[in-house]
């Protein structure tokens, strides 16, 4: 144990500046993107308008706050983001931000985005690292002691998090559709032919291959070039070019490119400091605790994205183990879902009008994701029971198209979905994928 601790050298004092840069960039970016979110009316659209929410397993208790609650929550995390940037009441600000942001994200799984998950994780990590010990109001107001050095794990864990995002995103691209068929790029790029200069090129098949392969190679290797002193600057130019291009080509991806451009700054080390590092010296017990916590965190981060291996079949089709795995812009998928509620005893049949219960976004997301299909079916059973249907059975005729393949029946349309449970088990009623 001690030898591992020494070898990894988690506690070597290193200059604090990467952490400070990261804190300021992250806080500023969160401040801007949350205001954008508010300004676009998405608080109402995503949290208040829907009459039904697709909760996460184990987080069914998370509900939109009543009245102005959601707006107050967002105001709180916007202020917290600002405070993170300024380094003011840093610990309180990071805790507030992490809890508030994560709560909002847990309300409805149809709003899931990988970079929201990333933001939750990073804000969680920020709680534990002393990013407010330099260039912060906390230091100026003497709330926190200034420091020039921090233990290397505080920067290392954020770098690790970035590496997880990139490398798993890269590994996810190593599949037949992406590399050999250049899908979904071949669908998405011709849709962007309005762009000046390159617009016409986007119809070319070779361009789709180029983007697919470049994207995969970039994701897999960029971290190593960022870690290496000699290639770092060039690599960061690539970061800007790559994410800049995705922002131009796929504006619908939102803040993700900017988040990544800002967060990769963590790979730049601070300038060499003269004089002796006055890093905090933790005793062995504290070190052991930190080591254990880091080990647990790292293990979870490495296992969650590969949990899909536990499920048979084609991941993109059944999406079991798809979320929280850094699968970004990987597939073009759409579905049409027709549900019927039946009363077995009498044979009464009611076809469901999804627009009555779901927003277009919810309907779109639900139509292609089995766990959401079950949640919705169970909700329908509840509603129709209230409308006087005895022991309602819910079946779904659902058609899904994946990466430009023709739409096909997605699930067994004879199964009573209302009697299925959401959980970790394999959903047997999802039909096998056929090309």
């Amino acid at each position: 144990m001690i030898s591992i601790l020494n070898r990894i050298n988690l506690f070597k004092p290193v200059p604090i500046s990467p952490l400070v840069t990261f804190r300021i960039a992250f806080g500023l970016l969160m401040f801007a993107s949350l205001i954008r979110f508010w300004w676009r009316g998405w608080i109402g659209e995503l949290y208040l308008k829907p009459s039904f929410h697709f909760t996460y397993l184990g987080f069914e208790w998370v509900k939109p706050l009543e009245g102005n609650g959601m707006y107050i929550l967002y105001a709180a995390i916007i202020v917290a983001a600002l405070f993170i940037m300024l380094g003011l009441f840093y610990r309180v600000a990071t805790v507030t931000f992490f809890l508030g942001f994560t709560y909002a994200e847990l309300i409805d799984a149809t709003t899931y985005l990988n970079h929201y998950y990333f933001i939750s994780l990073v804000s969680f990590l920020l709680i534990w690292v002393p990013a407010n010990r330099k260039r912060s109001l906390d230091v100026m107001l003497k709330i926190a002691k200034p420091a020039e050095f921090v233990p290397s794990w505080t920067i290392g864990i954020i770098r690790f998090q970035m590496a997880v995002v990139y490398i798993f995103a890269g590994l996810a691209k190593l599949n037949y559709d992406w590399l050999i068929e250049a899908q979904p790029m071949r669908i998405w790029l011709p849709a962007k032919s309005h762009l000046p200069v390159i617009g016409g090129l986007l119809y070319k098949t070779w361009i789709a291959y180029f983007f697919s392969w470049f994207g995969a190679i970039y994701d897999l290797f960029i971290v190593f070039f960022l870690l290496n002193k000699k290639t770092r600057v060039v690599a960061y130019v690539f970061v800007i070019i790559f994410h800049g291009a995705t922002a131009i080509l796929f504006p619908a991806i939102g803040m993700f490119p900017y988040v990544m451009i800002a967060c990769t700054l963590i790979f730049f080390p601070g300038r060499k400091q003269f004089g002796l590092p006055s890093a905090p010296v933790e005793n062995f017990v504290v070190r052991k605790r930190i080591f254990t916590a880091l080990a647990v965190y790292v293990t979870i981060q490495l296992l969650v994205p590969i949990r899909f291996l536990a499920y048979p079949g084609h991941l993109f089709w059944h999406e079991q183990g798809y979320r929280f795995s850094w699968r970004v812009m990987l597939m073009e998928k759409a579905g049409a879902a027709y549900f019927t509620v039946k009363e077995k005893e009498t044979g009464r049949r009611f076809e469901v009008n999804n627009s009555e219960f779901l927003t277009p976004l919810q309907e779109k997301m639900m139509s292609t994701q089995p766990d959401m299909i079950v949640k919705y079916a169970r909700y329908l059973a509840e509603i129709f029971a209230k409308r006087g249907v005895i022991n309602p059975e819910v079946t779904g005729e659902i058609y899904v198209t994946l990466n430009g393949e023709r739409s096909r029946l997605f699930i067994d349309s004879t199964v009573n979905l209302a009697s299925q449970k959401v959980g970790w088990q394999n959903y047997q009623w999802v039909l096998p994928y056929k090309k």
Binding site: R40, W42, L46, L113, N114, H115, L179, I180, P184, R186, I187, W188, P190, A191, K192, S193, H194, Y203, T205, W206, Y209, W213, I217, F221, F225, K230, T231, V234, P251, A252, I253, G254, M255, F256, V328, M329, L330, M331, E332, K333, A334, A336, Y338, R348, R349, F350, E351, V352, N353, S355, E356, P360, L361, K364, Y399, V400, T401, G404, R406, S407
Partner: protein
């Protein structure tokens, strides 16, 4: 430094060459055609100049005729003026089906669909009690408006939508006892029916007028995101099919209500032309999809993307649906009660076409359907 950079470039170029050779060697099987450049501006220009604007102009003309006939009927209600009004009404309502799919831009801004031919909206089901849904007419509000003489047809509310447009006109002119009702409170009734016809004309005049300046915006935007012309077109195909499956056919037929038929909520109920309207609707949708049989169309775009078989299937399914709707005799409201099998047949085929237009076609064209940020489905 140099070594590293050389290393990177060697790796990158190696992989690049690898995939180039892969993509060339794998040409043994049937390969989809290389997608050529598709001129989206030319497509949009074709839509605007040869299809959409002429359709609105025809609507304008038909409403001119309708307004004349309505005025003649209102001034002297008789069976003769009623018959003439019914002919003009039918012509105009059928023409409306040809512009409904273009309910974006100026028409969207004017809420044309809500004020002329309110369907009740897709988010209102037929199972909720005591609510006006589908293509209902709010005769209570209409009679109140006439009795009081005080009403504002520009009001944005469901009861306002249900008290004007084609459904209200048909109630006022051709519903049972329509002529007799003019003997009471005559002046107000005459005024109301003229106002309803006048408002129809006013709205379409405005849309035609606004297309004059919107045309440049329309053909100048070749994006495919939400609210873009191409996005609007593709989304409207799915929306119109949803309407056909729901308010036009499925819901009044009782699909949501265990077979309880709501025949009075069918489109064109008093005129008894529901089946004709549905046929006109699907034909106009096909016309919009194919750009009147022109390559400068969504159909042509799919072909240029190498999606010929999808396009063929969509076209074939359009024809199947049209044939099934043709087989349903008018009045549609009566057929809901007596021709259940034919309705059921049509309904099944409508759902197949809806699936194609809601999943395969938007997916193949990369068209977005929601405003939210999206990191890839």
């Amino acid at each position: 430094m140099n070594k590293r950079i050389k290393g990177i470039s060697a790796l990158l170029s190696g992989l690049f060459i690898l995939f180039l050779s892969c993509s060339k060697d794998s040409g043994s099987g049937p390969k989809p055609p290389e997608p050529g450049e598709f001129d989206k501006t030319a497509m949009l220009t074709h839509y605007a100049d040869n299809i959409i604007i002429p359709a609105y102009q025809q609507m304008q003309e038909d409403l001119g005729g309708l307004q004349q006939a309505v005025n003649a009927f209102a001034d002297a209600p008789s069976e003769a003026t009623q018959d003439a009004a019914k002919v003009a009404y039918t012509k105009a309502h059928l023409q409306y089906e040809k512009i409904e799919v273009y309910n974006f831009g100026p028409a969207g801004a004017a809420f044309l669909d809500l004020y002329t031919n309110f369907s009740g909206g897709l988010d209102y089901s037929f199972t909720q009690d005591g609510e006006l849904t589908g293509f209902s007419v709010d005769s209570v509000t209409i009679e109140n408006n006439i009795a009081s003489g005080a009403y504002d047809l520009t009001e944005y509310s469901r009861s306002s939508f249900y008290a004007q447009g084609f459904p209200a006109l048909s109630y006022l002119m051709i519903s049972p006892g329509a002529i007799e009702k003019f003997s009471v409170n005559t002046a107000n009734r005459v005024q109301y029916v003229k106002d309803v016809a006048g408002r129809l004309k006013f709205l379409v005049d405005k849309v035609v007028n606004d297309w004059g300046s919107y045309r440049a915006t329309f053909i100048g935007n070749t994006k495919t995101d939400v609210g873009s012309p191409i996005g609007n077109l593709v989304n409207q195909f799915a929306y119109q099919m949803d309407m056909l499956k729901g308010p036009r056919i499925g819901w009044p037929f009782g699909k949501q209500s265990n077979g309880i038929v709501f025949e009075t909520k069918s489109e064109g109920y008093y005129a008894g032309i529901g089946s004709q309207l549905a046929q006109a609707n699907i034909n106009s949708l096909k016309n919009a999809y194919t750009g009147s049989g022109n390559k400068k169309s969504v159909a042509g775009y799919l072909i240029s993307l190498g999606k010929e078989s999808l396009n063929n299937d969509v076209l074939a399914q359009f024809d199947v649906v049209a044939a099934k709707l043709d087989a349903i005799p008018d009045p549609l409201a009566e057929s809901f009660l007596t021709e259940g099998n034919k309705i059921e047949d049509a309904y099944k085929e409508i759902q197949k076409l809806l699936t194609l237009l809601k999943t395969d076609v938007p997916s193949a064209t990369g068209v977005q359907i929601t405003f939210m940020d999206n990191d890839g489905d």
